[in-house]
């Protein structure tokens, strides 16, 4: 790490607005992703944060890890609070009453639970109303803050504390992960993307693009959680890469309705490479894994079709 300053400075901005010393678990990719977002955005942004791991680990009074204005109100309303901040700053600027004349990015951030379940209505309302903001969902595939309960973003076959695998129900979670990226896109907003801190430059580029896009943008960020996924903390980054390499979590963007892959691989890894290191999938049978492979292939193919359609439209 001796020459970190020499190399790192060329790669990622040095600026930090998320201070060290927060209380996240070792190897938490959620905080890793947030830090990359913070590096991208610098200082001129305001955050509305939903209740969840991210809020808890960064804001225990009298401490706060936030060096930018930050507000937490409740669990399901980050999108609504951010709508208010956006509308408030905008009208005050128009009336000459807001002291800052630079462009300020408004960020709403929430976990998967705060987005795809309890916060879905507020998210939909905010996207539909067209607020100029970026909503980032940090998807660790369960309610981690309350002790790893299932959400509708928990994948098929994962065990959580409320979707345990048992005699009568050997699979664990038996529903399919809700595709909120498509739900966001269905609002006809100008920018939607998936992202992963395992691909930091792809993530930062997307955050930049989302912030620069007028109107609402939605980023669905895949954040491995060693604690909840029952795996070693040092695997958080690599498992995020394997998720992309195995087509489990493809990285793409939807700009004005046009789909584009942003990270592609020639040879995809089998899903078993992704499932094996994680304790939450330990109980799965070979048959289960084959089934998951089929599901993953199918939804990836469906995505590729949309990408192809977009290319045809562009031609």
């Amino acid at each position: 790490m001796e020459n970190l300053n020499v190399y790192a400075a060329k790669l990622a901005p040095q600026q930090e607005s998320l201070a060290p010393g927060h209380r996240a678990c070792q190897g938490c990719a959620e905080l890793l992703a947030v830090r990359l977002v913070a590096k991208t955005l610098g200082k001129d942004y305001i955050i509305a944060n939903a209740t969840g791991c991210l809020e808890i680990v960064t804001s225990s009074f009298p401490h706060s890890a936030w060096e930018v204005p930050w507000i937490h109100v409740a669990f399901e309303n980050a999108a609504a609070v951010a709508s208010g901040v956006e509308a408030g700053v905008k009208i005050l600027k128009k009336k000459g009453k807001y002291p800052v004349d630079r462009k300020i990015t408004i960020i709403a951030q929430a976990g998967d639970g705060g987005t795809v379940d309890i916060g879905l209505q507020a998210l939909s309302g905010a996207l539909e109303r067209g607020h100029d903001m970026v909503y980032i969902c940090y998807d660790n595939e369960a309610y981690m803050n309350t002790g790893i309960q299932r959400s509708s973003a928990t994948p098929y076959g994962a065990t959580t504390t409320t979707s345990p695998a048992g005699e009568a129900s050997p699979l664990g979670q038996h529903t399919m992960k809700k595709n909120v990226v498509e739900i966001a896109a269905a609002h006809n907003i100008p920018y939607v993307a998936t992202a992963s801190p395992s691909y930091p430059f792809d993530l930062m580029q997307k955050v930049r693009k989302a912030a620069d896009t007028p109107g609402p943008a939605y980023i669905h960020c895949f954040v491995p959680c060693p604690t909840g996924w029952r795996m070693a903390p040092n695997l958080a980054v690599s498992i995020g890469r394997i998720a992309v390499e195995s087509k489990v979590f493809p990285l793409y963007e939807i700009e004005n309705g046009e789909y584009k892959m942003t990270v592609t691989h020639k040879n995809h890894r089998p899903v078993i490479d992704y499932l094996k290191p994680q304790g939450r999938f330990r109980h799965l049978s070979e048959g289960n894994i084959a089934e998951i492979q089929q599901q993953v292939d199918k939804s990836y193919d469906r995505l590729l079709k949309k990408v192809k359609m977009s290319q045809i439209e562009l031609d």
Binding site: I56, S59, W70, S83, V85, A87, G88, Y98, V100, A122
Partner: protein, 391 residues
């Protein structure tokens, strides 16, 4: 003096909000609040009011958006009723804890079930302990005046708490009454621009709504309650300033012909006007009866109430909501505990009336007074009497 205009009370409230030059309004429609926000959206669309109008997808989001606009430093307004207020409940607690001076009109309406669009006070009683200042208007003029004063009270840096102005749904919100409007210049003099104490601003970052660990939670709650209690003095100050400037007097506890009265009726909201007529009738018959009207519901004006109890033997409290399984009507229960420790506390009779749009007539009030006096004489132990129940 300002001109008198005959106008629906809801529209008068919207005009007051416009005169207050609000920056942001977030609202979701619910009867009988609708006319207020419809008119405001018109004023914004016509360019008469330069404000952000955010037509949200639920009341939960309405109050959440208000948190955002207010935290950004915008003068913020919303209005709701009944189920809408109930849906906001979670966020209602957080707004005062964040010290955000949001102003809200509540067009009071019964809470389901059965579903009812008509007036009573079950909506506001359900959010009694959320930490908002709550005032009640009895007529359109008061609704107009209190709507203006609400901003000044809430935004005072000694307060910085949200406030609800309660108006009875339909019986007040939908009637046309004469209102004395105020001019923009005089309003501006009374209500200067909102200067937030803190705001979300990248040049001076703050973290709002951080986690309250056990070591500070108790202190945070104590502070909050002290500020809310302390707001009573500011409410009085603002009432006095308003009276001086515009000639209309307001008190936290209002009375009517209470001098020398041994029995007092006690009301909140628009039924007070009917109650006054009942008092006139009884006074004409030589009865020593008066009326006491609670204008400030939160913080509860304990001292002001006690000061009116000299020589009073019987207090007949009219409640417009049920506290299920409780010890009496919600107002009566408060009154009983506020008066319990004073010497020669009056007998407090609790009556529940006017639920879900049921009228309370002059005769009802006269009957209540008679019944309360009889109960007092017999020292009847009771929780409450519900009047007008058909067997």
């Amino acid at each position: 003096m300002a001109k008198r205009v005959g106008i629906e009370v809801s529209l008068a409230i919207s005009e007051a909000v416009k005169l207050a030059n609000v920056d942001a309004i977030a609202a979701y429609p619910i009867t009988p609040q609708t006319h207020i926000v419809e008119h405001l959206s018109e004023l914004v669309a016509d360019g008469e009011l330069d404000a952000a109008f955010i037509p949200v997808e639920s009341e939960h989001s309405a109050m959440s958006v208000c948190a955002g606009t207010s935290a950004a430093g915008a003068r913020t307004y919303t209005a709701t009723s009944s189920q809408g207020l109930a849906l906001m409940n979670e966020i209602l607690y957080i707004i005062p804890a964040l010290r955000l001076p949001v102003v809200m009109t509540i067009a009071n309406r019964a809470i389901s079930g059965p579903i009812s669009i008509w007036n009573d006070h079950s909506d506001i009683m359900g959010v009694r302990d959320t930490g908002w200042i709550a005032v009640f208007a009895e007529n359109g003029q008061e609704a107009f005046d209190l709507s203006l004063m609400a901003f000044k009270i809430a935004e005072d840096h000694r307060v910085l708490l949200p406030i609800s102005v309660n108006i009875d749904g339909f019986t007040l919100s939908h009637v046309i009454e004469p209102h004395e409007f105020l001019g923009q210049e005089e309003v501006d003099k009374f209500l200067p621009e909102y200067k937030p104490a803190v705001q979300l601003n990248p040049d001076a970052p703050v973290s709002m709504g951080t986690v309250g660990i056990p070591e500070i939670f108790t202190e945070a709650k104590k502070c909050q309650d002290e500020v809310l209690k302390g707001s009573e003095a500011v409410v009085k100050e603002v009432f006095a300033e308003f009276g001086e400037m515009f000639g209309r007097e307001y008190k936290v506890v209002e009375t009517y012909r209470s001098e020398g009265a041994e029995t007092l009726l006690m009301t909140m909201g628009s039924v007070s006007e009917t109650a006054m007529e009942a008092i006139d009738k009884m006074r004409d018959e030589g009865k020593a009866v008066g009326l006491i009207r609670l204008r400030l519901w939160r913080p509860f004006p304990v001292e002001a109430l006690r000061a009116e109890m000299v020589g009073v033997k019987t207090l007949a409290v009219i409640d417009r909501a049920v506290s299920f399984g409780g010890t009496g009507g919600p107002v009566a229960s408060e009154v009983r505990s506020a008066l319990y420790s004073i010497d020669q506390a009056p007998y407090v009779a609790s009556f529940i009336a006017g639920l879900g749009g049921r009228d309370i007539t002059i005769d009802d009030f006269i009957m209540v007074v008679g019944q309360a006096e009889r109960m007092a004489a017999e020292k009847e132990i009771h929780q409450y009497k519900m009047i007008g129940v058909r067997e």
